[in-house]
């Protein structure tokens, strides 16, 4: 058991050490790990652009105003290879985004987690031989 655990931890260490470059840029240069955000809103637009996709989200405030947030997502080529298309997050879809706010305090965040209003998650699972 102990041996298995040690090997298992070592393997996890190797996995972490050898993950490919997972983002085009340094997360912390753009976003603040000390400012986690949870945004509930509706999809206003999805930009399929390299090197990262950007999701535009309308977030209704208690006073009736609406904040338009920009959410950074994964690279569009990688998403597309897994069968995720422009129809996967249509305008008007209600979603919850959890991530970290931009360091400059603007209405931008990275989209670490995305959840539909019913609690399910989009994009779960993948396939195809060309994925990243």
């Amino acid at each position: 058991m102990r041996t298995d655990l040690v090997i298992g931890l070592a393997v996890i260490g190797q996995v972490l050490a050898t993950l490919p470059v997972s983002a085009h840029h340094a997360f912390a240069a753009e976003f603040d790990a000390n400012q986690p955000v949870k945004l509930e809103g509706t999809v206003a637009r999805m930009e399929w652009i390299s090197p990262h996709s950007w999701l535009h989200l309308d977030v209704a405030k208690p006073d009736g105003s609406v904040e338009r947030w920009m959410i950074e997502g994964g690279p569009p080529n990688a998403l597309f290879r897994r069968g995720i298309t422009q129809e996967s997050l249509p305008v008007g879809t209600e979603i919850i985004v959890e991530g970290f706010r931009a360091r400059d305090g603007s209405f931008r965040a990275n989209g670490r987690d995305i959840t539909f209003a019913d609690g399910s998650r989009p994009f779960v699972g993948s396939f195809s031989s060309g994925s990243p």
């Binding site: 997972s22 080529n77 990688a78």
Partner: protein, 344 residues
């Protein structure tokens, strides 16, 4: 491109691969080679060159440098191979099941909200388990499996690591070459890339062209016997020739960009950088690729990496990567840098 719905998933079995042919004599494989290389013959183009055409990608788990726990040995044991394969399969299954965090091999958010946790697994999913080989490092020379940095380069590597994500970001020149959408260089082009490092090889009489998805990097390599020219370029200037069924590419004429920020110092270019790459197909879907890197401005001696590369399905495409169009990150990094400076 496969357009099946994302819920229709299947887990591809972990493939325990043969080590490289030069290494194979020391290590019997633990599982059959799915490429069935024994029955395979190198195909030729209509004009008689060995045919390497298709989309290729690095799919393995081997780290560039040898981790300390494998010090003194070039190969994993059978037990280690089996355990890594088991973990890889488990992590892939967990990703497909929508799990995250430690279940897919990541640190907890509490330990590090940044490193490796920028995005949930679905943004970055490989779509399948990676391949497990016996090599303990891609670097096979020097024998210790480590980059033979000069003292200056080692200091530059430490500085680069320390400033990653921290800056300062006062100018558009401060982010690294990849963050600026320039290039990540030639050295690791065959096995790295922000989208996973897809390379399409296209051949015509007298030429081999490598189209790298990221940054739209492309290398047009003459194999018609011409000598090197003299124009320094970011990706250098490559000239190839055939040695039997092996494509040998020699690249020189790099400009000195050692004063630029590079995500990895070992990929930076100087005017002394000299690369020799050898491409050898060993099966319908398998290539043995080696690169020898010589640059006395960064390394005390040449080093060589041996990299197993996989040919993807025929319908795999290379997609556009209009990096500047959407590189909001550059503006955001600079505005974040200014906001941080104002708050200090």
């Amino acid at each position: 491109m496969d357009h099946r719905p994302v819920s229709a998933v299947s887990i591809l079995a972990v493939i325990v691969m043969l080590p490289f042919a030069p290494l194979a004599a020391q290590n019997a494989p633990t599982a059959g080679d799915p490429t069935d290389a024994r029955a395979w013959q190198q195909p030729l183009t209509p004009w008689g060159d060995p045919d390497f055409q298709g989309v290729w990608r690095y799919e393995a788990t081997i780290p560039l440098e040898r981790p300390p726990r494998y010090e003194g040995r070039a190969f994993l044991t059978d037990e280690e191979v089996a355990e890594i394969a088991r973990v890889e399969e488990e992590l892939a299954a967990n990703r497909l099941a929508g799990l995250d965090g430690a279940a897919v091999g990541r640190q907890s958010l509490e330990d590090s909200p940044i490193r490796g946790n920028e995005y949930n697994a679905f943004w970055q999913d490989h779509g399948r388990a990676r391949q497990v080989y016996r090599q303990t490092s891609l670097i096979v020379d020097p024998a210790d499996g480590k980059l033979p940095y000069t003292d200056d380069a080692r200091e530059a590597a430490a500085r680069s690591t320390a400033r990653y994500g921290v800056g300062p970001y006062e100018s558009y020149l401060d982010p690294d070459t990849g963050e600026r959408c320039l290039t990540d260089g030639v050295t690791a082009m065959m096995w790295q890339g922000p989208n996973g490092g897809h390379n399409r090889i296209v051949q015509s009489p007298g030429y081999v062209t490598i189209v790298h998805e990221e940054y739209l990097d492309r290398r047009i390599i003459p194999v018609d016997g011409r000598p090197h020219g003299g124009i320094p370029q970011w990706l250098g200037e490559s000239v190839g020739h055939w040695e039997g069924e092996t494509l040998v590419v020699e690249t020189t004429n790099f400009p000195d960009k050692t004063n630029y920020e590079w995500a990895s110092i070992w990929t930076r270019t100087s005017d002394a950088l000299h690369l020799v790459e050898r491409f050898q197909r060993v099966g319908p879907n398998a290539m043995e690729y080696t690169i020898t890197v010589e640059d006395p401005k960064t390394f005390t001696r040449p080093w060589t990496a041996a990299v197993p590369i996989t040919r993807l399905a025929d319908n795999t495409q290379i997609y556009e990567y209009a990096c500047h169009e959407g590189n909001y990150a550059l503006k955001n990094m600079l505005s974040a840098g200014r906001a941080t400076a104002e708050n200090e």
